[in-house]
Homo-oligomer: 357 residues x 2
Amino acid sequence: MSGAPVGLTEVAALVDRRLCALFDEQRAIWRPNDARLVEAIDELERIANGGKRLRAAFAFWGWYGAGQMDGAPVADVASDRILDVCAAFELLQAFALIHDDVMDDADTRRNERTIHAAQAELVRSRGWRGEPRRYGEGVAILIGDLSHVYADQLIGNDSDQARRIWDQLRIELNLGQYLDMRTAAASELDRVTAQRVATFKSALYTIVRPLQLGACLGGVQSDDVMARLEEYGRPAGQAFQLRDDLLGVFGDADTVGKPVGNDLREGKPTELVAAALERADSAQHRVLGRIGEPNLSDDEVHGILAVLHETGAVVDVERRIDALVVRATQAAFELPFPLSVQETLAALARYVAARQH
Amino acid sequence: MSGAPVGLTEVAALVDRRLCALFDEQRAIWRPNDARLVEAIDELERIANGGKRLRAAFAFWGWYGAGQMDGAPVADVASDRILDVCAAFELLQAFALIHDDVMDDADTRRNERTIHAAQAELVRSRGWRGEPRRYGEGVAILIGDLSHVYADQLIGNDSDQARRIWDQLRIELNLGQYLDMRTAAASELDRVTAQRVATFKSALYTIVRPLQLGACLGGVQSDDVMARLEEYGRPAGQAFQLRDDLLGVFGDADTVGKPVGNDLREGKPTELVAAALERADSAQHRVLGRIGEPNLSDDEVHGILAVLHETGAVVDVERRIDALVVRATQAAFELPFPLSVQETLAALARYVAARQH
């Protein structure tokens, strides 16, 4: 099931429009100051376009469910306030991706040149001074920071609880990324670490916190409901991360947008690799021991892929995904939300666990 | 006058204590999750320590003046709320410096190893995998981002006007940095550009916005007072930037913490260089034309320094600084604040315009 559910696409259309308005407004503000500033906003827009808008969708449905709306068309009921918050999540995601691409030295993102790659190219093509890589990375860092500020501005100021959730998720995101990089560099590829990184980066940042923040703006105050949202979001987020782990290793450049074996070269701590390491015999251990070498040959990558299959790690992860989706679905139907919203959330859990890109 | 005025040192002591408490609290929260996360907080603390706390001081005196406090000891009257905001400015500054050091590839900052340099060294000394530069820069980006979030969290949520100022200054900071990098790379070293960058990065970010935000929390709502604060802060900030330009070119590594000629190698757009370019004859133009070459020889640097003197640009900038301090001082004494606060602000303007490091 690679088609995105309407619960996602309908929200995405509204969020895209909101983002477009924001960029236009910012260009109008800054152009009179200095026309060169507009280039920075254009670059941000280029990367912010075309996201799946997952985090926005979870924020939206948290809000919609909390408001006990039941079947009312998305475009009719969506308030400016919730769309601002949905757009904020997507700008925060753009910030994270832009900085991530610098850290990973990725050349493309969603079939667009990444900012640091495009800006480095600009230095070369225009014959500007200085080191192209340094300029490209510097500009990407700044444009990421700018996106972070825009995101923050859209979150607004009218709910202390919403701000607390927002602050919390941003700290979780940054510390989760740090743990990811740190343990990849040190080759600390155990399962506990992998699960911890997945919890920060996928379960909390992508699903639980957007849902809770949306629900909070929809009027939910009870800790019990917040906890139930977490019971849905944690397994859904873990399934999302496990699918991402499989795609990052097996997916090919055409559908996933990154080359096969990419995550193996980066040595990301994933449950997939942890599961293989736990089951590997000594010969298989030697093969897996090459994970994290930036210049793994294609043959070595294929050797590692074979071991991931032979040890049963792939089957193990697929089974875990299925079980997590069942848990998320059950939790969705226990939420104090109308049935149509429960169904939407169940569909979103299935989607994130199964998506092909 | 290199000694910092008490208006600065007294605030700095309180802000340092507040930051220390924040880092301790964050370590206590995150250590149980994963002891490795504490390393990120330790690194942030290492760089956040030892700042001059200029922005905090301006926020503080804006608040103190707005509250019509007159001579009451700083440590007695400082509320938790205003100290949070002062600390927020210093964490935002740490964020900007950490990202700046990545962009400039600076090895040291306030006699400490910069984060990206220290973290790259860690990869080498521990024999971790991957490219040391990439890891160091990645970790520095993340720790800078974390500092940004902590800053934002401390700004709080209780004043819409304060949030608007905060959002505004962060956008100004990022766009100002972008313009700085962009015009340096493209060698667009004219005076208008130099003044524009100085306005964003020094006048607004360092002085005007902290003062206004502090005043806003101290109860000022009138646009007239906000405008008067700007009349003080703009010239004071320009003088600060001009001094910084002189130090960045002539200052030596011992007192300024960066090598002579550093800013010339980076090709920063400064009024100093713009003034020299405006007055240079064709031979001098050729010498100045080398500005922005990363591998300028020491001889070339000294040739450029000579031209900066010979054209009268240095004297011109010193005179501009004097005139700006006079304007800032006059504006300070026109603020609707008690005399003791006017005097403190006048002393701060003299200090930022004259500081030796």
